[in-house]
């Protein structure tokens, strides 16, 4: 008999609560000492840390919705055995969307031009932004598009799980809900292409350096969030397996997720390098200014950590087949990737907002703890709400006998 009902282990519950507590306390302390303080730099740091973390955790949980949609459309059977994990992560996207939405809209509606410089530029008739960019980087467009996208992401995340859970109680062999989910997934891919894969990273992150632009930027952000999202799914699979759940998930399925981590680390490097090399080769001052501070300035260490943690480590460690099938090694690499891409987001945001005065202090770590605790708490709670095996999925047999 399969162990279908996930019960949150007491240790996970306490850990998540403690982390969440640390996060809340840090936030309050941050408001008291940094936001309400007199120093502009500290206020900037406060907002940048919130911005970076809320976007990072929103995007890596959104990656679960993406992988679900993509595999549903491709009718991939391998993911069905642990489908409930990305579904659980996807269905709590709305929480992270709310947090990110609050942070983003507060920044825009309080005219915080220390973070989004275009808020000031936009008022200046002699600014160098062209007309279309003036429209794109306007308060109204930013607000409308952000809200629309956040609502759509949350809705799709909830809907995909809802349909999958509904299938459990349907008659055996009925595929109506399955095809409904297929159509919903197609819809999500369309929304995803127009939001995360193109406009949203430009709007939220790239506009921090409002005079700099790169068309590769969204794809590069997508790759970053997707590979960390897969790592997060991997950590959840291994955690639940370790506690005696998900018996039908075998080394073959873990191997497949490992392949995703491996392949998309290379994909991320490809995009990161494509963006870098074109700018480096063309050597136009308004473009190279972006890399000036990151490569030669105070952010040099993150620039190299980025390459080492996100490219060298995954490619060398995950290349041999036995390593992708070793639970300890993939856990290690998943953590490396998550830390690495957190650093990637850090160096996307910080140079534009706090310039050379970066420091990773108590506030950064506290906020990260809070978000990690939130992920642990929400996802583990969601996992208890539905059986861990989608029994009526037409691909269930195929997923059990799956060989990587």
């Amino acid at each position: 008999m399969l162990n279908q009902e996930f019960k949150v282990p007491a240790k996970l519950k306490t850990t998540s609560m403690v982390l969440l507590g640390i996060g809340v306390v840090t936030l309050i302390a941050g408001v008291a000492t940094m936001l309400l303080g007199k120093e502009q730099l500290e206020q900037n740091r406060f907002w940048s840390v919130l911005l970076q973390n809320s976007i990072f955790f929103l995007l890596i949980s959104l990656a679960s919705v993406f992988i679900l949609s993509a595999t549903t459309l491709a009718q991939g059977a391998w993911i069905v055995s642990f489908r409930r994990i990305p579904e659980a992560i996807g269905s709590v996207v709305w929480v992270f969307a709310t947090i990110a939405g609050i942070v983003l809209l507060t920044l825009v509606w309080t005219d915080n031009f220390h973070i989004y410089a275009w808020l000031q530029d936009g008022y200046n008739p002699h600014n160098s932004l062209n007309a279309l960019k003036n429209f794109f980087l306007s308060k109204s467009f930013f607000t409308i598009w952000t809200v629309v996208v956040l609502v759509l992401w949350s809705w799709f995340g909830i809907k995909i799980r809802q349909l999958s859970v509904r299938q459990d109680s349907e008659a055996k062999g009925s595929t109506k809900t399955y095809w409904q989910n297929f159509n919903i997934s197609a819809g999500f891919i369309f929304v995803f292409a127009l939001s995360l894969a193109s406009t949203i990273p430009w709007l939220w992150i790239m506009s921090l350096d409002s005079h700099w632009f790169s068309t590769m930027f969204s794809w590069y952000t997508f790759a970053s969030s997707f590979v960390s999202g897969m790592s997060m799914i991997m950590l959840w699979i291994l955690y639940t397996k370790r506690h005696g759940y998900l018996e039908i998930v075998s080394t073959e399925h873990v191997h497949d997720v490992g392949k995703f981590m491996f392949a998309f680390s290379i994909f991320w490097t490809y995009l990161w390098f494509s963006q870098f090399m074109l700018i480096w080769y063309a050597n136009i001052p308004e473009e190279t200014v972006y890399f000036q501070i990151r490569m030669h300035g105070p952010y040099r260490i993150f620039y190299w950590l980025n390459i080492i943690l996100n490219f060298v480590c995954p490619i060398l460690i995950l290349m041999p087949r036995p390593n992708k099938r070793n639970y300890f090694v993939v856990t290690l690499v998943a953590i490396i990737i998550l830390v690495g891409h957190w650093i990637d987001f850090y160096q996307m945001v910080m140079p534009a907002t706090v310039q050379e005065h970066w420091k990773i202090g108590w506030f950064d770590l506290g906020i990260v703890c809070g978000f990690v605790g939130l992920v642990m708490y929400l996802v583990s709670n969601k996992l208890t709400k539905a059986p861990l095996v989608p029994q009526n999925n037409p691909l269930l047999k195929e997923t059990i006998i799956h060989i990587a």
Binding site: M277, M319, P320, I403
Partner: protein, 193 residues
């Protein structure tokens, strides 16, 4: 190059083949090879085959490509013929990366294809004995090497594992270069007839 005697069994379905392979191996027979019309997942594990080292060869070829490209380009642009392109340094590493990548892929791809051909003993013109004309069509053909004393017994055992057809063949166990109807092969068939 050696002529050997083989017991050959042809199965209709991989669902019959898998239990048969298990039974044959647990009874102590050594399977020479299995020929299937398509790649059967899990068959290599069932046969007790070790994981192929082809990917390690691939990694070595790739690394060779990387160092060839990087080494050659840096030697040209720093030592042999330094030139200034668009004000770039004489060792413009980012500009070398695409070519390094291409050469890595080229070396590992070509090297792995050749190694694969060598390991599987396939090449244009290289011939191997075909045990069953339908082994690439719809039959799963299992071959065991036998000698004169245990041939009949092995064939009976194979029949008992659910084989559709069984027979004894004397054949070249290695590959040869040339035509299928080469003299030795022809003589073997005559002996058998």
């Amino acid at each position: 190059m050696s002529i050997k005697k083989f017991a050959v069994a042809a199965y209709d379905d991989e669902a019959v083949l898998f239990p048969a392979v298990k039974k044959i191996r647990s009874s102590g027979y050594k399977i020479h090879d299995v020929y299937t019309p398509f790649a059967v997942h899990g068959l290599d594990e069932a046969l007790g085959e070790k994981e192929s080292d082809l990917h390690i060869a691939g990694f070595i070829y790739g690394i060779t490509g990387t160092s060839t490209a990087l080494g050659f380009m840096s030697w040209i642009f720093t030592t042999d013929w330094p030139q200034n392109f668009g004000g770039k340094p004489h060792f413009p590493l980012p500009a070398f990366i695409p070519i390094t990548f291409e050469l890595t892929v080229l070396f590992s791809a070509v090297g792995m294809v050749l190694t694969f051909c060598y390991l599987c003993q396939i090449m244009p013109g290289v011939k191997k004995h075909i045990f069953h004309p339908r082994q690439t069509d719809d039959k799963f053909v299992l071959v065991i090497e036998v000698n004169d004393s245990n041939a009949a017994e092995t064939e009976a055992f194979l029949k008992a594992t659910g084989a559709e057809e069984t027979n004894i063949q004397i054949a070249e166990s290695d590959w040869w270069y040339g035509r299928f109807d080469k003299k030795e092969d022809y003589e073997i068939q005559q002996q058998l007839a």
